[in-house]
C-alpha cells in the first residue's frame, strides 16, 4: 500500500549506487526531415536536437530552459522514445535503454512524464480514477489493487478520492487536472519524472500550489525530476542544476545558483535580463536581444548564437564551441570560455576559466 512508506522503496531499486547518474544522455540527435516538391523528397532537416549530452543525478532536479524551438521538449520526448532519435544513446542507472538489460517497457515504467496541456493528456471517457489505475493494470497489477492505489494517490495530490475519484476530466479545473496527471505519472512508482512545462498553463496562485506539491512528492517518493520550462523564476526555484538550451544544443549547464548569478554564456545572460523586473522604479530600458531565435532548419554556422550575440567576433561564425568547463560542475559552450579559442576574451593557454 502506498500510504506510509512507498511500496517499493526507490532506493532499493538502485543498481549503480548513488554515484551512477540516474539518466545519462549521449550524443542525442533528432533531425526531422522536411519533404516537398512533386516527388515528396526530403529537402531539408529541422535540426531539433543536435548533439546533446547530459546527466541527471539520483534525487536531483535538473531544470531545462530555453526558447521555443530550442529542442527542450523534443529532448524529453526522445528520452521516452515517444519519437525515435536519429542518433544517440540513453542510459538509465547505468543500463542502456532498449538493451536486454533494460527493455523500453521497463524503462517507461520507471520514467513517467507530465505534459503541459492537462486536458488533452487525459482520456475524456475515463473517470480520473480509471485513468490513474490504467497504466498499473497494463503492467500487471490486479485491478482491485490498482484502483486502491489510484485512490491513495488522489489523496496524496490533494484531491479527496470520495469527491473526485468518479469525476471525468472536464469536471475538474486546470489545476485539479494537472494534479491528476501527476498522480497518474506516480501510479507506476517511477524513479524519474519528466515534467514538460507542467505548470505553465496554470494560473499563478495555482502554479505555486502545484510546485509545492511537486517538492513534497519528490521527498516522499525519492523522485528525480527533469523539469522543462520557459519560466526562469520557476526553474530557479525548483532546480538543483540548470541546463540552458539554444537551437538544439546545450549552451550552458551548471548548479542553479551559479547559472543564475554568474552565467558564462551570453545567451544565458540575455535570457535572464529579459525577465521583467517587477520593480516600477527600475524598468527595463533596452531589450537585451534583438529579433527572434533563428530557424532550426538552417542554424547559423559556428556558434549558433553568434547572430544575436553582443560579444561576437569573426571566429564565432566559423568555430563551433564545445561545452567547456567554466567552474566546478559548470560548463558553457562559448568561445569566450574555451582556452585558446581565438576569441579575444578567451582565457589564454590551457588553464580553466574562472
Amino acid at each position: 500500500m502506498i500510504i506510509g512508506a512507498p511500496a517499493h522503496d526507490p532506493f532499493e531499486r538502485d543498481r549503480g549506487g548513488p554515484a551512477t547518474p540516474l539518466l545519462t544522455v549521449k550524443g542525442l540527435l533528432k533531425h526531422f526531415p522536411i519533404r516537398g516538391g512533386a516527388l515528396g523528397r526530403v529537402q531539408a532537416h529541422v535540426r531539433a536536437v543536435d548533439g546533446v549530452d547530459f546527466e541527471v543525478m539520483k534525487g536531483e532536479t535538473l531544470g531545462v530552459v530555453g526558447e521555443s524551438g530550442c529542442g527542450k521538449s523534443t529532448t524529453a520526448r526522445l528520452l521516452l522514445s515517444l519519437i525515435d532519435p536519429t542518433a544517440g544513446e540513453v542510459f538509465f542507472d547505468g543500463m542502456k535503454v532498449g538493451s536486454p538489460e533494460l527493455s523500453l517497457k521497463e524503462f517507461r515504467r520507471q520514467t513517467q512524464m507530465v505534459f503541459q496541456d492537462s486536458y488533452s493528456s487525459l482520456n475524456p471517457r475515463l473517470t480520473i480514477e480509471a485513468s490513474i489505475a490504467f497504466a498499473p493494470q497494463v503492467h500487471g497489477v490486479p485491478k482491485r489493487e490498482a484502483v486502491a492505489r489510484a485512490r491513495d494517490l488522489l489523496a496524496r495530490v490533494g484531491l479527496d478520492p470520495v469527491r473526485f475519484a468518479g469525476r471525468y476530466p472536464h469536471e475538474l479545473s486546470g489545476g485539479q487536472r494537472q494534479r491528476v496527471n501527476i498522480a497518474r505519472a506516480l501510479a507506476l512508482q517511477p524513479r524519474l519524472v519528466l515534467l514538460d512545462e507542467a505548470v505553465s498553463a496554470l494560473d499563478k496562485s495555482v502554479e505555486a500550489q502545484v510546485l509545492n506539491l511537486l517538492m513534497d512528492l519528490k521527498d516522499e517518493f525519492g523522485l528525480t525530476y527533469l523539469f522543462i520550462s520557459h519560466d526562469l523564476n520557476v526553474v530557479r526555484f525548483i532546480s538543483d542544476r540548470v541546463m540552458v538550451m539554444y537551437l538544439g544544443q546545450v549552451a550552458e549547464i551548471g548548479p542553479s545558483d551559479v547559472v543564475f548569478d554568474r552565467a558564462c554564456h551570453p545567451y544565458t545572460t540575455a535570457l535572464l535580463s529579459s525577465m521583467p523586473s517587477i520593480d516600477p522604479d527600475h524598468r527595463t530600458m533596452e531589450a537585451p536581444l534583438a529579433g527572434d531565435p533563428p530557424n532550426p532548419i538552417n542554424p547559423p554556422s559556428g556558434c549558433r548564437f553568434h547572430t544575436r550575440c553582443s560579444f561576437v567576433e569573426q571566429v564565432c561564425s566559423s568555430v563551433q564551441p564545445r561545452l567547456t568547463e567554466a567552474g566546478p560542475q559548470h560548463e558553457a559552450a562559448c568561445l569566450m570560455v574555451v582556452p585558446g579559442s581565438g576569441h579575444s576574451k578567451a582565457p589564454v593557454g590551457t588553464g580553466v576559466a574562472a
Binding site: D203, A208, D292
Partner: protein, 331 residues
Amino acid sequence: MSAVDIRDLRVTFGGVVRAVDGVTLSIERGEVVALIGESGSGKSVTLRSLMRLHPPRATKMEGTIAVEGRDVLAMTPRALADYRGPIVSMIFQEPLLALDPVYTVGEQIMEIILRHEKVSRKEARARALALFERVRIPSPERRLDAYPHEMSGGMRQRAMIALALACRPKVLLADEPTTALDATVQIQILLLLRELQRDLGLSIIFVTHDLGAAVEVADRIAVMYAGRIVEEGTARELIRNPRHPYTIGLLKSRAHGVMEKGTRLDAIPGAPPDLARLPPGCSFAPRCAAAIESCQIEQPPSFVVEGGHRARCFRWKDAPAQLGAQALGAA
C-alpha cells in the same frame, strides 16, 4: 474627459455566468492601465466589452461604457464598424489566429485604411510601409508581401500591432499580447508598446496575468478577481503597498525571489470561485487568511487607501500586516 470611462459594467453570459460583476474604471488620455488577474477573473471580458466583441444574443451587458465621449453600448452596427479601428483597436494573444492566413499582411493593413479613409491604394500602401517601419520590422518593403505563416512569432506580433495602429486609434486594447512569445521577444514587444504609447500619445489597456509584464508597461494596475476590480492604484503603490489579500497573495506566491532551496512557496489555497455560483460576500473570502465574519455576508465596497489607490476589502488597514506584506516592499 477620460479616454475610457466604464461605469458599473456587468456582463452575463447565458443568463447565469456573471463574468464581469460591476467594474468601474476610467483611463485618462495617454495613460497605460494594466488589468491583471487569473483566467476567469473577467479581465478579457471587460476588454472585449469595449469593442463589443461578445456574441450579442448570449450576452447581457449592463452599465455604461464611454470611449472618447461615445456611448459604446448604444451604438448601431454601422456606428460600431466606424468606431472599431479609428477610435479603438485591439491586439490579441495569438497573431497567427488573429491575422487572415490567405492575405498578405500588407493587404490586410491596406484593407483597413481603405475601409475607413478616402485614400488611394498607393497611399494606403505607403502608410502600411511607414507602419512597418514604425514597429521596426526589418526589410519592411519585402515583409508587406509576406503571408502571416512566413513570419516568426515576434515579427507577427509586430505586424499585428501595425495593423491595430493603421487608422491612428486613440485607445489601444492589448489582450495578453506577449503571453505566447519567448522571453527575449516578450521584452522587445513590451518596450515597443511603451515607445508607441509615448510617441503617439495612445491610451492603452493592457490585459495580462503576468505581474512582471504589467509593471514594465503600466502607469496604473487594476487587479481583477471573480469579475470585480479588487484593487487599483499606480504600479508603485500596488507593488510596494498592496492592500487586498489577493494582491498580497499574488505577490507572495511568485517563485521570484525565493532564494533558499527547500523553502515552500506561499501559495494562495483553493481555487477561484465558479462564476455561476458566486458567494454572497467577498468572492475571495473562502481563500482568504484575513477573512472575518462580515466578509462572508456582505460585499466589501471600494475603500480609498490614498488618492487613486483603492481596495475592495473590509480589512485593508490591518490585513497587510497580518499577511506579512511589509516584506514585499523591499523586493
